[in-house]
């Protein structure tokens, strides 16, 4: 049973690392980012934070999606 679950445990570990790194990067660094005065307008900084956060979230989702697709396609022989 444990051998069968190993790939799923690996996906779980990847998801965990993505949660840890994602939350720390998005909320700890991107959300707290304050550019030097005059370098960028406050509105521009807010837009930049949203775009960077969204890009990271999309990357997070994409990695997990590709992992799940790869695992299912590799393990199950499709009929149609």
């Amino acid at each position: 049973m444990l051998r069968r679950l190993l790939p799923l445990v690996a996906i779980l570990l990847v998801a965990w690392l993505l949660v840890l790194s994602g939350t720390v990067i998005i909320f700890g660094y991107i959300a707290q980012f304050n550019p030097a005065e005059g370098a960028i307008s406050p509105f521009g900084a807010a837009v930049l934070k949203v775009v960077l956060g969204a890009l990271l979230a999309i990357l997070w989702i994409l990695i997990l999606y590709l992992l799940s697709i790869w695992y299912v396609r590799r393990s199950i022989k499709p009929t149609s």
Partner: protein, 327 residues
């Protein structure tokens, strides 16, 4: 005092769960509120839902805690549980469409916001500092309970799975509350633990004598989310729920729309003649945790349930590590 209060709450909510579930099994059988257990020979009819027994037992446990503490967070938890449970009851009686449930469950998040039972400064693991999120946090609260409630609801696929999953996932929350020294939230989590653990699991384990129904799963999931938010253990809660969250994520990303599991044309697993389960080979079938577990060959219902429990235990261990990385 705290220890006595915890013991009283464990006993009251635990015993009430046991007695009310027994009572409900008889009442539901008499009234014909039965559903087929599709994974067993002869498809036996099983009473459903056990949700009212769980909701009442947990609510009374929380009411005792509120009487002694007057902590607004306990009131918010109870309200979230009740609202999600009522939505689940409507769903049990009259099937709600796929996207209605998440929308309606936003109402379960409202008590947390209206009672101010949250701190918009979550503490993140490794980073270690609280982060001020005064605008985003309330929006995340609104989204959080529909997510936790629906993910717990979606993991309710086999006998004993949802009750053991909630039991295992609650342990990291207890560790997080202990590390924070938040004894009120620690005791507030106990009714969820005791009700789902020994006392409800006794009826729900294989072969199930009663199913929780949407009222049970949505109420447990909403309470879980509320505990994580009010107890400032958001990331710990997310990590502990990862197998259930991934299950919903895989499902939604493969189906590409919000639909009820029963509305999906191609089932993720099929039942063989010997009543073992096998992964559907169809490309049209949604990807779920069950289908991924079955990808390497057929298993019995008990074996799939055991696999989900193992994954829940690993996620709980990761959540406990996360708690130690945070405080």
């Amino acid at each position: 005092m705290n220890l006595w209060l915890a013991l009283v709450i464990i006993l009251v909510s635990g015993l009430l769960t046991y007695l009310l579930t027994r009572f409900l099994i008889k009442v539901l059988r008499r009234r014909g509120w039965l559903v087929e257990d599709a994974h067993k020979p002869n498809r036996p009819l099983i009473p459903r839902p056990a949700g009212p027994a769980l909701i009442i037992s947990i609510l009374i446990g929380e009411a005792i805690l509120y009487y002694f503490t007057y902590d607004v967070r306990v009131a918010a938890l109870s309200s979230a549980l009740l609202i999600a449970g009522l939505i689940g009851l409507v769903d049990d009686a009259k099937r709600l469409k796929g996207y209605y449930k998440p929308l309606l469950l936003i109402f379960a998040s409202l008590p947390i916001l209206l009672l101010g039972a949250y701190v918009p400064q979550p503490i993140f693991p490794i980073y270690g500092k609280s982060v001020r999120l005064f605008v985003i946090y309330p929006l995340l609260v609104l989204a959080a309970l529909p997510v936790t409630a629906n993910t717990i609801n979606a993991i309710d696929v086999f006998n004993g799975v949802v009750s053991s999953f909630v039991l295992i996932a609650t342990i990291p929350l207890l560790v997080a509350f202990t590390l924070q020294g938040d004894w009120i939230m620690l005791i507030a989590a106990l009714p969820l633990l005791t009700s789902t653990a020994v006392f409800y699991f006794f009826f729900h384990r294989y072969p199930s004598k009663i199913f929780p129904g949407d009222s049970g799963t949505l109420a447990l999931g909403a309470l879980y989310g509320a505990l994580a938010i009010c107890g400032r253990a958001e990331v710990v809660g997310v990590v502990a729920l990862l197998p259930a969250i991934l299950n919903s994520f895989f499902f939604l990303s493969s189906v590409k729309k919000i639909v009820e599991h029963r509305e999906v044309k191609e089932r993720p697993a099929k039942i063989l003649e010997d009543f073992r389960l096998a992964a559907s080979p169809s490309r049209e079938a949604p990807i779920t945790l069950t289908r991924m577990i079955l990808a390497k060959g057929p298993l019995s219902e008990v074996e799939v349930a055991r696999a989900i429990t193992i994954l829940a235990t690993i996620a709980a261990a990761l959540a406990i590590i996360t708690a130690f990385l945070t405080w």
